[in-house]
Chain length 139, copies 2
DNA sequence: AGGTTACATCACAAACATGTGATGTTCTGA
DNA sequence: TCAGAACATCACATGTTTGTGATGTAACCT
């Protein structure tokens, strides 16, 4: 459902959320603890930094920190910089035009799936995830 | 959410469902009408044939037919031969162990998404799709 | 200051998905 | 029977994702 790279971004963000407020974490440690190749994780973290989701600090005491409290960061924000941009609206059956007004046979059902995925990503914060389960509706 | 190849398989299956009972359709025509590269579609159709979802016939009057009535073919069946097999159970946060008993912080919410996708694919037939919309619950 | 430690960046390789072209093989129908 | 039409198969090209290695650059600490 999500690309590997997107998952890696989530893992890093959750990792940083867990130790929010306790200083910067080194890319190498994040990579090791999340089971992601170190150099690859570096690039992912760099992209997250470029997107303003994490802050990087160089030098001896450097590393990465979340740019905002976990409560304010949604999964969609974390994953956003790695999304293909396109294709989210593509018709499942390949029709050039496929919309609510002019739907293909699978449009309505497929739309439910897409929207529940989006609302999961848009409605869940890093804080929600590190606190454990519990739905939006329950608070 | 689905790979391109999986979408191509769906397009072909829906195409064949639409003309179920009227004989075989040629790969070239299916490819043209669904907007898929002809040679690529050939390979997709061949895999569908190997999986027993469609039947191929050679020779002058040859082509592809569905191996069963549209009402009996679920989208999951069509897409199945192209699924990676793995990764469907992978933890979103990369934990080696992640299950209902021992869940990560995102497990429950993520599970809802995965299951709604699966129930869409497992609960929708080709007949449902060509008839237009209408949910399982409504019949 | 200068060395060490971190991130930043570049170059490239491997794996996979996707797409193209050519050729073989089987069946039909005249 | 045999030529044509269709699928079957092989070989390969392209593009993207994922992963690896080496080097550059900035900051800290002694």
């Amino acid at each position: 459902m999500l690309s590997r790279t997107e998952e890696y971004a989530l893992r890093a963000a959750v990792y940083l959320a867990r130790q929010y407020g306790t200083g910067a974490a080194r890319a190498k440690d994040i990579a090791r603890d999340t089971g992601v190749p170190a150099n690859y994780m570096s690039k992912v973290l760099h992209q997250l930094a470029k997107a303003g989701i994490v802050v990087s600090e160089r030098g001896r005491t450097g590393g990465f920190r979340l740019a905002a409290p976990p409560r304010d960061l949604f999964l969609a924000t974390v994953v956003g910089p790695f999304e293909p941009q396109v294709e989210r609206t593509r018709c499942l059956l390949g029709r050039p035009e496929c919309s609510d007004v002019n739907p293909c046979g699978a449009h309505d059902r497929w739309k439910v799936i897409k929207e529940s995925t989006l609302s999961f990503l848009n409605g869940t914060t890093l804080a929600d995830v590190i606190e454990g389960s519990g739905s939006d509706a329950s608070r």
